[in-house]
């Protein structure tokens, strides 16, 4: 079961109550824009580097900053400890936001009681330009994000080595987000289309940070519902959520609009224990968990394994061997959409049979099984990312001083040679992370299954196959990481 709202538990810390200055900061209209705009400017610079800078990936600012620094910070720091805070400062949707809102700092407030005339579309108490269509209900899930991420992942080696491919990917994301913002309302792109947003949605469930209402009774008595409808102080939730009723982190982009709009100051940020949320609500989320685990395994094999031929096959831009790439891509898709989901679904099915509980819906058993992969998958991704940053982090210093690879030395660090950091410790870090992930995954799966099956014995039988499979997956990765 999902953890209750933080306000109802004793193991949470209300950050805004504890630090009033932090609360003041979060309620300014210029926050988090003051972070997002410099990131947008940096992104523009790096995309330029991806177009006109050096073609050498490890010397190009775009490749180095996005795929080494940003990726590591995102998966190993922000998601575990700050949920989807990246979404709150992400530069990709900013242009679309501004085109929709025709405001950078301010808010277009239009009281619906005074008529709906005027330019744009009235949504709640705010007005937006653009078509502001509703996103189709049947696509209001993670499936498109799953597909988009798998597509990007298929070309990951190309993205990681080719600045041009990275520039096209980042530029394409900005263009797509802007285009979607002109057609559909608010942050439709971020919520249903952004390939990165999909896994942030899943893994933010494990985060120690959550935005929630302090008191559900205050929300129940609230007449304005400004968090949803907007107010003079801010926009209605751009993520199409009802913030006061949020019980999971999945769809909260931490844009902080609800913190600004709530007339009762009832929305706050809470620090909570890790892995607090477990419940998956649909097969789209379960498949996101399967997909992410499959990709983490595949990446570990391709990037960290000793098989150079596999890496060459994946790097179609350099090798231009479409047959080998086709085999690689086919294998990747089969693993992500067939093998891993098949194994975990089969384990859940087997558990349901062992528990002799035909009354338990197969779908619920599958979701309970997949819940193990939320914390485990996150830790596997961190374990995969640790060696990348330890081995290649020194490139960040060099590329930071010369982001275009033109021979600049802005900060005096351009000549720093490639210096792997504690490479002999890396397998130990990875092993530790895998163990933590396995423990958290087993705990999450056990709690979900116990609730699903009711009795302790039935839950044990129901969860056993998934637990064995999880252990086997962890052992496989451990063998790969430690050689």
């Amino acid at each position: 079961m999902n953890a209750p709202a933080p306000c109802a538990t004793t193991r949470t810390v209300d950050l805004l109550a504890r630090w009033p200055r932090f609360a003041w900061l979060l309620r300014r209209r210029w926050f988090p824009l003051v972070v997002a705009v410099p990131l947008l400017v940096l992104t523009a610079t790096f995309v330029s580097a991806g177009l006109v800078g050096t073609p050498v990936g490890n010397r190009n600012g775009l490749v180095v900053f996005v795929w080494i620094l940003w990726w590591f910070l995102l998966i190993a720091v922000l998601v575990p400890f700050a949920a989807r805070s990246w979404c709150g400062v992400c530069p990709v949707p900013l242009l679309g936001d501004w085109l929709q809102r025709r405001r950078v700092l301010g808010v277009t407030f239009a009281d619906p009681r005074q008529g709906k005339e005027g330019p744009g579309t009235q949504i709640g108490r705010n007005r937006y330009r653009g078509a502001s269509r509703r996103w189709p209900r049947r696509l209001s899930n993670l499936w498109l994000q799953n597909l988009g991420f798998l597509l990007l992942a298929t070309f990951s080696v190309v993205l990681l080595t080719s600045p041009l491919a990275s520039a096209l990917a980042v530029g394409g994301m900005v263009a797509a987000a802007t285009g979607v913002a002109l057609l559909y309302r608010q942050r439709t792109f971020c919520r249903f289309l952004c390939p990165v947003g999909g896994f942030l949605s899943l893994y933010s469930m494990s985060s120690t940070l959550a935005l929630r209402a302090r008191s559900s009774s205050v929300c129940g008595d609230c007449k304005e519902k400004s968090c949803l409808a907007g107010s003079e102080q801010g926009w209605g939730c751009p993520w199409l959520e009802y913030p006061s009723r949020m019980a999971r982190n999945n769809a909260c982009g931490l844009c902080l609009e609800c913190v600004k709009t709530c007339p009762h100051g009832n929305m706050s940020l809470f620090v909570r224990p890790p892995f607090a949320e477990r419940r998956l609500e649909g097969l789209d989320e379960a498949f996101k968990a399967f997909l992410m685990l499959a990709l983490a395994i595949a990446y570990s094999v391709v990037y960290l394994g000793p098989w150079g031929g596999l890496k060459a096959a994946a790097n179609v831009a350099e090798a231009v061997d479409w047959r080998a790439f086709g085999l690689y891509a086919g294998g990747l898709w089969a693993l992500a959409l067939g093998v891993v989901p098949g194994l975990y679904l089969a384990a859940a099915w087997l558990g349901r049979r062992l528990a002799r509980t035909p009354q338990v819906p197969a779908r619920a058993a599958a979701l309970a099984g997949a819940s193990t992969l939320v914390p485990f998958g996150l830790l596997v991704w961190i374990a995969f990312s640790v060696p990348l940053v330890l081995a290649n982090g020194s490139y960040v210093l060099a590329a930071g001083s010369d982001p275009f690879g033109w021979g600049w030395n802005l900060f005096g660090t351009a000549a720093i040679p490639w210096t792997p950091v504690v490479p002999h410790w890396t397998p130990w870090f990875q092993a530790g992370l895998l163990l933590v992930g396995q423990g958290a995954g087993l705990r999450a799966g056990w709690l979900e299954n116990r609730e699903l099956y009711g009795g302790r014995r039935r839950a044990l039988l129901g969860f056993a196959p998934t637990a064995v499979l999880l252990a086997a997956t962890a052992l496989l990765l451990l063998a790969l990481y430690t050689g």
């Binding site: 705009v37 947008l40 400017v41 940096l42 523009a44 610079t45 330029s48 580097a49 991806g50 177009l51 006109v52 800078g53 050096t54 073609p55 050498v56 490890n58 010397r59 190009n60 775009l62 501004w98 405001r103 950078v104 700092l105 301010g106 080719s162 600045p163 041009l164 520039a167 831009a317 060099a398 010369d402 982001p403 275009f404 690879g405 033109w406 021979g407 351009a414 000549a415």
Partner: protein, 333 residues
């Protein structure tokens, strides 16, 4: 009203920052690239391993996918200092123009190296890459033209053998060892240094011969003085028996000597060899024999040697060159 002004100012500042983020780096680089500080012009040469060229065209992330970068023929002027800005688009290279006095300069990907060159003699001076950088490495060569007036003389630079050698089509299946050796000799790039039909001739200053050795006389150096002698040894090799294990071959005169010499040559190809200095106090010769053992099997090395043994023994004159009287200043930080 005040809010509206603040809004406009913020939007304007963001727009300016975005334009500046793109335009400023481009402008800074353009002005640096085309600066003629102290009257020194700059020529940028970028090593592109995938195509086996040093090019003077701009190789950026956005253009690196092209497959037709022009091979550079930089034009310098006698007595005039030019800045050569060396870069790599892919892997580590080394740029050397020995007759211009440019010793091998290592060029690492994503880093630029600048040198100042002041030629004192007109002519066409060969340059090449001296780090085995990849399959088309041996094609990374060309000529620097030094013109007395600053204008090129219009005559095309000399052609070196083996253009696009790595694309040489493979012989039909079933081709004999000699035909396969002829193909390997070209396709692996041996031809680019040792010349068509083993004629040699590429300058390698301060090496014993001042050029890369010719190979057309390999038969004679292996004590195979007639075509029949060579054919007899080839027959022994074609029998499939390892040469080390063959103690007698009546058809091959002086077989023990021939065998020892042949195996030594094979070992040299397999393990490579540093070029010896003619003048021990002088600079190290820029070109060494690479070790092919990691790339070619023993059978493939045998096929190449078989091809070379079938070549005529006519001596091809070597082009003796000496280090040119040019001044080169080192890397400018």
């Amino acid at each position: 009203m005040r809010k509206s002004i603040l809004e406009s100012l913020t939007a304007g500042a963001i727009a300016i920052a975005l334009v500046a983020a793109v335009a400023v780096p481009l402008q800074v680089e353009a002005s640096r690239r085309h600066s003629r500080a102290r009257g020194i012009s700059t020529i940028e040469l970028t090593g592109v391993m995938g195509q086996g060229v040093w090019t003077d065209e701009a190789v950026t992330a956005g253009t690196s996918w092209r497959r037709n970068f022009r091979r550079a023929t930089p034009v310098l002027r006698v007595g005039q200092t030019t800045r050569l800005r060396l870069a790599s688009a892919d892997v580590a290279h080394a740029f050397s123009a020995p007759d211009l006095g440019i010793d091998p300069i290592e060029v690492y990907p994503g880093k630029t190296v600048e040198i100042l060159v002041t030629p004192r003699e007109a002519g066409k001076f060969e340059y090449y890459c001296t780090t085995v950088c990849g399959e088309p490495h041996f094609g990374m060569r060309g000529f620097v033209e030094v013109a007395p007036s600053g204008a090129p003389d219009g005559s095309p630079p000399p052609q070196r053998p083996g253009a696009n050698y790595w694309l040489t089509p493979e012989p039909a299946p079933g081709a004999d060892g000699v035909a396969r050796g002829a193909w390997l000799y070209r396709q692996q790039g041996c031809v680019t240094c040792h010349g068509d039909a083993g004629a040699g001739g590429v300058p390698n200053p301060n090496s014993m011969n001042a050029t890369v050795p010719e190979l057309a006389d390999l038969g004679r150096r292996t004590f195979l003085f007639t075509a029949a002698d060579a054919d007899a040894l080839l027959a022994v090799l074609a029998s499939g028996q390892p040469l080390q294990g063959v103690s007698e071959a009546p058809a091959v005169p002086l077989f023990p000597v021939v065998k020892r010499q042949y195996l030594a040559t094979r070992e040299l190809v397999r393990d490579g060899r540093r070029s010896s200095r003619l003048d021990v106090e002088g600079p190290r010769p820029p070109l060494d024999m690479p070790a092919w053992g990691a790339r070619l099997s023993t059978d493939e090395i045998d096929a190449i040697l078989a091809y070379l043994l079938t070549l005529g023994r006519g001596n091809t004159a070597t082009v003796a060159t000496t280090p040119g009287p040019h001044s080169v200043e080192g890397d400018i930080p």
